[in-house]
């Protein structure tokens, strides 16, 4: 009975060990993949913002150059513009990504 318990404990330890040791490797790979996907998505967002910048901003006023403000100032201004110009959320995010990237 005692030997059986020891065997069960050993098996359980192996399972736990495999889970614990195996998990970081999988997570790191996942994280790298996630980061790559996020970087791709960010690039796509910047490109979308670049396409929309002169058209969307220019529908009311001359489009202001991205270098005119710091990234954190654009955060605040784009929040204001999202509300004032009633921009769709995704377009506001894309314009912000473009303005911040320069």
């Amino acid at each position: 009975m005692r030997g059986m318990n020891l065997r069960a404990l050993a098996i359980l330890s192996m399972i736990v060990g495999a889970v614990v040791l195996g998990r970081p490797a999988v997570t790191a790979a996942d994280e790298a993949s996630d980061q790559e996907a996020a970087a791709k998505e960010q690039k796509a967002l910047v490109r979308k913002g670049a396409r929309e910048w002169s058209v969307y901003c220019g529908s009311c006023h001359n489009a202001r150059p991205p270098g005119e403000r710091s990234p954190t100032e654009w955060d605040t201004i784009m929040m204001h513009m999202r509300v004032r110009a009633n921009l769709p959320a995704r377009d506001a995010q894309a314009l912000l990504a473009y303005l911040r990237s320069r």
Partner: protein
């Protein structure tokens, strides 16, 4: 026998002709030399082609490396977008008070106005700072005082707006406070001097006692938002619904003001009834079509205006704006109706149509920084005794105006404007005005 003779003759002929044929196939020494030269020439050409290919491959590698470097720089800049909390004062501020961002933007203007009928000939100035305070990524507070030096010499200070914007989700934002009236195109979108392509305002939107149809701001709450339609980039729909203190007119609290009395901002509600309004805007052209950006909008605004809460004011408007490259065309039509005690309804119509064209394609300094603007606007008063009320030099009855302007854009937000207006209306002589203005958006 005959067959044998034929065979012998054929063999003889072959033996005789074989050396001749052999001599004809062998190239001469000149031909051999020529062939050698051709081979050398081809070898030289081949060597040159290989060298060119190598040079092109090198160039391609250089371009690829440069592109990779540029991408890395962009990525690095993007990554820098959210700076880690470090040693700067701003970072320290962030750590203590959260993700606060406070900035001042806005615009200022200096102007000169000459009015033949009003006999004014004066300089003026106006300053509209806009304070933006971002508390979190979902909460923003904004306020804009308007400080204006009037032609009478007095300084007029007015709180244009002071509002909290709370982003509820991707499709809805809650706004509370004093906000610009979400009606039509002019008030919310193009009123600031650095955006308005003319120094003057179109007749339906002249302010206060000059006889415009609507107040520029109101106190209350809004829900607003926008969404993309059909998954097509550029095809959007936006909406705004609001509840506010509502309209007010000169002498509203004293009884029934006459037809055509100016519209005032209702900072203190005169009655218990609130006003309701809404606006919807549609952008039907996809971005990929590269056919410009078109917006079509419709607005409403309804509420009681008198202190007894029995008389209604109603307004509706239609507007459009279209931009394609250097061309900008926009226009609005709006109608207001106000119930009057013991009189017929006070109805007023207003409209404007404006076209502007940038000469940037000329490519010749300084003309490529010029923009030509033309606008036609008007007001029409309906109702009893309309022309008894409207018909002074300052406020002509049923006025119409043609405005022509030339803008010089020093930068995208700094502009010098020169405008000539030709106005006419009932019971007054035609008027000419000249406006010059320098506007700076900052």
């Amino acid at each position: 026998m005959t067959r044998l003779l034929e065979c012998i003759a054929l063999c003889t002929a072959l033996l005789l002709l074989a050396p001749v044929a052999s001599r004809a196939a062998a190239p001469s020494s000149d031909e051999l030399q020529q062939l050698r030269d051709e081979i050398k020439q081809l070898q030289a050409q081949n060597a040159a082609s290989e060298a060119r290919i190598q040079a092109l491959e090198q160039k391609l590698t250089d371009v690829q490396q440069a592109q990779e470097k540029k991408d890395q720089e962009i990525d690095a800049k993007i990554a820098q977008g959210a700076p880690a909390a470090g040693g700067t004062t701003a970072d320290l501020f962030d750590r203590w008070f959260g993700d606060n961002r406070f900035i001042v933007t806005g615009y200022g203007q200096a102007s000169y106005d000459w009015d033949r009928n009003a006999q004014t000939n004066t300089f003026g100035a106006r300053f509209n700072p806009l304070f933006l305070y971002r508390i979190t990524n979902r909460v923003l507070f904004e306020a804009s005082p308007e400080i204006e030096l009037e032609s009478t010499g007095e300084t007029n200070v007015n709180l244009e707006n002071a509002q909290a914007d709370i982003i509820l989700n991707d499709y809805m934002t809650f706004v509370a406070g004093k906000f610009l009236l979400p009606f039509g195109d002019f008030i919310e979108h193009i009123e600031p001097a650095w955006i308005n392509k003319l120094a003057s305002k179109p007749l339906p939107y002249v302010e206060g006692d000059e006889g415009g149809l609507l107040a520029f701001s109101d106190l209350g709450v809004q829900l607003r938002g926008a969404t993309e339609l059909f998954g097509e980039e550029g095809v959007d729909l936006d909406y705004t619904v609001f509840m506010s203190n509502g309209p007010s007119f000169e002498n509203s609290a004293l009884g029934t003001p006459a037809i055509g009395t100016p519209f005032l901002t209702n900072n203190v509600d005169l009655n218990k009834g609130k006003a309701f309004g809404g606006r919807i805007g549609l952008y039907p052209i996809p971005l990929a079509a590269e056919m410009g950006r078109l917006r079509i909008g419709a607005s409403t605004y309804d509420g009681t205006w008198d202190d007894k809460q029995g008389l209604w004011f109603s307004a509706y408007g239609l507007d459009f704006a279209y931009q394609l490259d250097e061309l900008d065309v926009r226009g609005e039509y709006l109608q207001t109706r106000r119930q009057l005690e013991g009189q017929s309804t006070d109805r007023r119509d207003g409209w404007y149509l404006q076209a502007a064209y940038k000469l940037s394609r000329l490519g010749i300094e300084p003309f490529n920084k010029l923009e030509l603007v033309a606008r036609w606007s008007g007001l029409q008063q309906h109702g009893l005794a309309a022309n008894d009320v409207l018909g002074t030099e300052e406020r002509p009855g049923n006025p119409r105006e043609f405005a022509f302007g030339v803008d010089y854009w020093l930068t995208p937000s700094v502009v010098g404007k020169l405008e000539y207006d030709w106005g006419f209306g009932d019971k007054v002589r035609n008027n000419n005005t000249i406006h010059a203005q320098v506007a700076v958006g900052f």
